[in-house]
């Protein structure tokens, strides 16, 4: 029972949304259900926040490894929550957007979250280097193709790409490295991407059907729980 009703809900909602595409009066169902999802997701935020607090309070109580840092998390969470829910320092009061300029919420976003986000993101500059050092080695034919494609594109992005192939006559200009890089992006790259995407389309279709028909049901847990 505990599993049959959910399975039926999945089946019903899934099938209904597939058919709604072909029935004009029901066309808006997808839109509404997406909105429903957004609302449920906000309830989920509270679930998440509660869980986060519980994890860190437990850590603190039991004096687990790195427990002092849990204070940082709890304090940061509590501070941001207070500032956001009460719209502290917001020039427009309760009716204004929560992210209005000058509000504490926005200030914390600008001076704490933004540098953290963009620096985490910027770590990628280092990781592309270490990954290409390790991965682009001519170990076998596939790896060699990977290496050559990456190298040509990288070279095409520097002034040296044009320099090393400037002897190629203009009538064969596609063989000059920067042009070759563009050609690779436009042709073989396009073909590969397209094959992957067609496969993904079919994979999603089959996966969706397995979910709707209840063939895949692990996410619903066990009957006895």
């Amino acid at each position: 029972m505990k599993r049959q009703i959910p399975l039926f809900i999945t089946f019903f909602v899934g099938a209904l949304l597939i058919f709604s595409v072909f029935i004009p009066p029901m066309e808006s169902a997808g839109e509404n259900f997406t909105l429903f999802f957004d609302i449920i997701a906000v309830f989920a935020f509270f679930l998440g926040g509660g869980n986060l607090l519980r994890v860190h309070i437990t850590k603190l109580k039991r004096r687990k490894q790195d427990w002092p840092f849990s204070i940082v998390t709890i304090a940061g969470f509590a501070f941001m929550l207070t500032v956001g829910i009460f719209k502290i320092g917001n020039p427009g009061g309760i009716a204004a957007s929560v992210t209005a300029d000058g509000s504490w919420f926005q200030e914390v976003f600008n001076y704490v979250l933004t540098p953290l986000q963009s620096t985490m993101y910027a770590l990628l500059a280092f990781f592309v280097a270490s990954a290409s050092y390790r991965a682009f080695r001519a170990k076998n034919r596939e790896a060699t193709i990977l290496l050559i494609a990456a190298f040509i594109i990288l070279l095409g992005r520097t002034p040296f790409g044009l320099m090393v192939t400037s002897w190629v006559p203009e009538s064969l200009s596609v063989l000059q490295i920067p042009n070759l890089a563009i050609w690779i992006m436009n042709s073989p790259n396009l073909a590969g991407q397209r094959a992957i995407i067609i496969g993904i389309g079919l994979g999603v279709v089959s996966m969706s059907l397995r979910l709707i028909l209840g063939v895949e049901r692990t996410y619903l847990g066990d009957d006895s729980g």
């Binding site: 500059a125 592309v128 280097a129 050092y133 682009f136 001519a138 170990k139 190298f151 070279l155 520097t158």
Partner: protein, 306 residues
């Protein structure tokens, strides 16, 4: 001071790479932190001590440059800034460079934008970057800013036959009829060159389809690096040339500096941004080479052992 700084950094980077290259023959792996350090120096040094690498202009860039260069003084050029603040870092440098080049050559320049958010950007970049270098150029005589009008490609559909229908006035509500540049311009067909700079829709592609093709107006385009490959099929039949991303801007700036001494001290954001890019790309490529030498050397050793 800056020169010494960059020379020292380059010596450190390339010396280090050379040392690693020699070491790699013995098949010794490089710690990833060493790679990180090289990337950091390669990016930070050119920011601290601006360095410019010579950028040989690729034919598509050269084509636009030559077009602007070869037009006689007094030619009518329209520059459309079709981008928003999010896209600006990538395309603003080329917009500035082309604008300066056109003003320097004595062309009559009309500035406009197809993007609502582009008008403020346009007005600001005129004030801050473009016009300060040309105090002698007068509004309405040498250049004019007609701003933004809503309607996306609809705007183009109208100005291909009549500017005044879409733009009765310029951005300061001065009627076009009293603006000298527009004395002998009725529609886009009277222009000698249009350059659209942008990366979205409407943008370069719409200019090609709605103005360039039907009106037989020469169109040059500048665009974000990701979009550039999609525009190549239009070259050279439908577009004069293509500037792609910061690299395209850097090539244009470099050619401009090389050709005209007036621009020797010009601020070149494109070239400046290419400094860290070029060095970082070289470092990454060097490490790919080093990695392969290590791999080949290691395999050879294993064979010997057997």
């Amino acid at each position: 001071m800056a020169n010494i700084g960059i020379i020292i950094s380059l010596v450190i980077i390339f010396g280090g790479l050379l040392a690693l290259l020699i070491r790699s023959v013995k098949s010794k792996e490089v710690d990833r932190r060493v790679i990180f350090l090289f990337i950091f120096v390669a990016v930070a040094a050119p920011i601290l001590f601006p360095v410019t690498f010579s950028e040989k202009a690729s034919p598509v860039v050269k084509a636009i440059f030559n077009k602007v260069e070869s037009l006689p003084a007094g030619s009518k050029v329209l520059l459309s800034f079709d981008f928003d603040p999010a896209m600006a870092p990538e395309v603003q440098p080329m917009a500035n460079a082309i604008s300066r080049h056109c003003l320097y050559k004595g062309h009559k320049v009309i500035f406009m934008s197809l993007w609502a958010t582009g008008q403020a950007l346009l007005t600001q970049s005129l004030q801050d970057f473009i016009l300060p270098g040309f105090p002698e150029k007068r509004n309405a005589v040498d250049w004019v800013n007609i701003g933004y009008k809503a309607g996306n490609e609809g705007v183009l559909n109208v100005i291909i036959t009549d500017f005044r229908k879409m733009f009765p006035t310029d951005v300061n509500t001065v009627p076009l009829d009293s603006i000298k540049i527009f004395d002998d311009i009725k529609s886009c067909k009277d222009l000698d060159l249009v350059v659209s700079i942008g990366g979205g829709k409407p943008g370069p592609k719409e200019w090609i389809l709605f103005v360039g093709d039907p009106g037989n107006v020469p169109i040059g385009v500048g665009t974000a690096a990701v979009v550039a490959p999609q525009l190549y099929p239009y070259y050279p039949a439908q577009v004069v040339g293509i500037l792609g991303g910061v690299k395209g801007a850097a090539e244009y700036e470099y050619t401009l500096k090389e050709t005209h001494s007036r621009f020797a001290d010009m601020d070149t954001p494109g070239l400046r941004m290419m400094g860290p890019q070029t060095l970082a790309h070289v470092v990454i490529m060097s490490f790919i080479i080093i990695g392969n030498i290590i791999y080949i050397a290691g395999r050879r050793r294993e064979k010997k052992r057997r």
